[in-house]
Symmetry: C2
Subunit: 394 residues, 2 copies
């Protein structure tokens, strides 16, 4: 369990936690503030005013001190009671978390689990809901980090509306990195976390719930199974003249978030999404130039994380270790994909040359493992995409 080589410069290239901009990092080191004093009040009000823009919603966005999974749990705890039928869709490890959460809270879980890497087909969900009209809540994922697949949330929302059921979407790894128009698409609940495209350290969870979802939660019979994660309590505090949290929030992380949201506002959501799209296309260009394939549904190409299928000829499980020896911390495959993929992240505070670093590292690792690889070929493939895109004009 030795740490990383302290003499090697470190490059954080994971899909979460993601690297944090220097200004955000500096905010973390500012003195701790009391959460019920004017300085924090002003800061928290600013954060609450800015968050809905990222969700593209008019809802209040609830700020929780928890991992993203805590925010997911809040959705189950507020919307589901023991014995209640729900539909949970999973095409990878994070989708499966909805199943596990539903079961932990005693729901009657109808699991829709096409294989890992599949993109949930809204038509399948339509069929499943038609067969179980008693279901009132559906759970799904925006970007499935374990497989690099971004699901068709817009299509799922249409189906949900058709059946008059609530759609809850885990957007932890996708929000701010791929399109999600909550209000326009009619997504009832969007859950997010601080440590992905929101460019903060982990430790804050977010929930944007429509009035319909809040009313549905309020109408559930007690006991709620939620106190710390009670939406109504949080909303009531946030809507006060001086917005507050029911419990001591992670003030340092909220300070960091304030700076990150300022950066997001400065860059602009459209430009941010375009940047992610370019980074993803360049990554795919590099992968193709190496003669490798992208894992998962071929009709969908994620702007959040690119899962590269590793050659069968090598011991793929060694790739993350070989990258780490060179200072790059990157994600291999999880669960059933262990050793089969490398995930190249481009979510949040990532730029063109981060893609170059990841591909250059991958090439070196592949060579060391005996794969047939031309050093620089993947990098050149990515460069070609960047060259065609030109330098972005502000």
């Amino acid at each position: 369990m030795a740490g990383a080589n302290p003499f090697i410069k470190q490059y954080l290239m994971t899909a979460g936690p993601t690297p944090v901009p220097p200004r955000v990092q500096a905010a973390l080191a500012e003195p701790v503030v009391y959460h019920r004093a004017p300085d924090f009040d002003a800061l928290f009000a600013r954060v609450l005013a800015r968050l809905p823009g990222v969700f593209q919603t008019g809802n209040d966005v609830i700020v929780l001190t928890s991992s993203g999974t805590g925010a997911m749990e809040s959705a189950v705890a507020n919307l589901v009671r023991p014995g209640q039928p729900i539909l949970a869709c999973a095409g990878g490890k994070f989708g499966e978390r909805w199943l596990e959460l539903g079961e932990a809270f005693g729901a009657d879980v109808l699991a829709h689990e096409p294989e890992w890497g599949a993109r949930i087909d809204p038509a399948d969900v339509d069929r499943l809901l038609a067969g179980r009209p008693e279901i009132e809540v559906v759970f799904a994922t925006l970007s499935e980090t374990s497989t690099g697949v971004v699901h068709d949330v817009r299509g799922l929302a249409e189906v949900a509306r058709g059946h008059e059921v609530l759609l809850v979407v885990d957007a932890i790894s996708g929000l701010g990195a791929t399109e999600l128009r909550q209000d326009e698409w009619g997504v009832d609940v969007v859950v997010a976390g601080s440590q992905k495209a929101l460019m903060c350290p982990p430790g804050l969870g977010f929930v944007s719930a429509s009035q319909r979802a809040l009313d549905f939660a309020a109408a559930r019979p007690a006991p709620r199974g939620a106190y710390y994660f009670d939406w109504a309590r949080a909303i009531a505090e946030q809507r006060k003249r001086v917005p507050a949290t029911p419990f001591t929030p992670a003030v340092s992380l909220v300070k960091a978030l304030d700076v990150a949201l300022e950066l997001i506002e400065e860059e602009g959501l459209d430009r941010i999404l375009a940047r992610h799209d370019l980074l993803a296309r360049a990554t795919r260009g590099g992968v193709r130039a190496l003669g490798l394939d992208v894992f998962g549904d071929p009709d969908e190409r994620s702007t959040v994380v690119t899962a590269v299928e590793l050659p069968d000829s090598i011991d793929g499980g060694q790739v993350p270790r070989l990258l780490r020896e060179r200072g790059i911390v990157a994600n291999g495959g999880q669960g059933q994909l262990q050793g089969r993929i490398l995930r190249i992240a481009h979510c949040g505070y990532f730029g063109a040359f981060d893609v170059v670093v990841s591909l250059a590292g991958l090439e070196l690792a592949l060579q060391e493992l005996g794969a047939d690889v031309e050093l620089g070929a993947g990098v050149a493939g990515a460069q070609q995409v960047f060259a065609e895109a030109g330098i972005p004009v502000a």
Copy 2:
């Protein structure tokens, strides 16, 4: 909702969040690390090895990404099922949280609520448990921050053992600032948070649960009402060869905690408790010298926070504002004690001259409000106690 005057130096004098040592602050600004890579593994293993020393226990201490209230919720979610009878003791706002949590989770709550400021009498708890032999879990508080009273946890643990019930103690504001010998006293579950005597920003919760408590939780029928806060899941991850967390932890806060625990180890728990005792005695000396009283049970004197009864002759609700205008952020009274007390904190990263600052500020505020106060008298009362104690020898 204007912020504090930016030209006035700020002094954080609250009982939580508490001020954070410079080395801890600096750790917060370090680059974000991936939570499943060797650097974090080594750091987290170090944190897990050090935490039990502060709890004075041989238990694994569970690290949660949440406020202290999240850690409290975990105790209820793991130990209590709807309809289950519990005893919840409350002598202030934070004790009342146990009642609210019990009710939120559908427990049959027997509430023991002497007035705010009272110290829970173990004999009363003994009597209540004798009358309700079906009760298996009792909830209590170590340091009641709202009133400045430290409860007799040792006595409560003796009573709990006599009835063979589990005792769960919220030690959020007291752990590391006042005596709590978990194993020696036989306290089954101790809950804590990062933002008090552990000298970190808020955002981490801790649970030290005895094997008896873990077995009791495991024997509860599903649904658990806990997934994010499931103790068994957290313990299983923490006990792996490479200790981990089930969900992405607040890595920046864990880094800060690593440094804070190092500082605690360097100072030594005995010396830390002696320092808190001295700071509290000096504060009381200052309060007495001002002709004021300490609020709450006269037989108990907290080493965590001193609640000062404000003179009836003044508008006590103005004191926090007047302090704030001078740069001091301090806690007035909450709930029914609003306007009646000022709480002088000395919990965590506090030294002699922080007590001096708080008392000097209080004197100025009292004078402005028209109270009969001799400037410097309270400060001198505290100085007298420090002078008698001499300079601590390392």
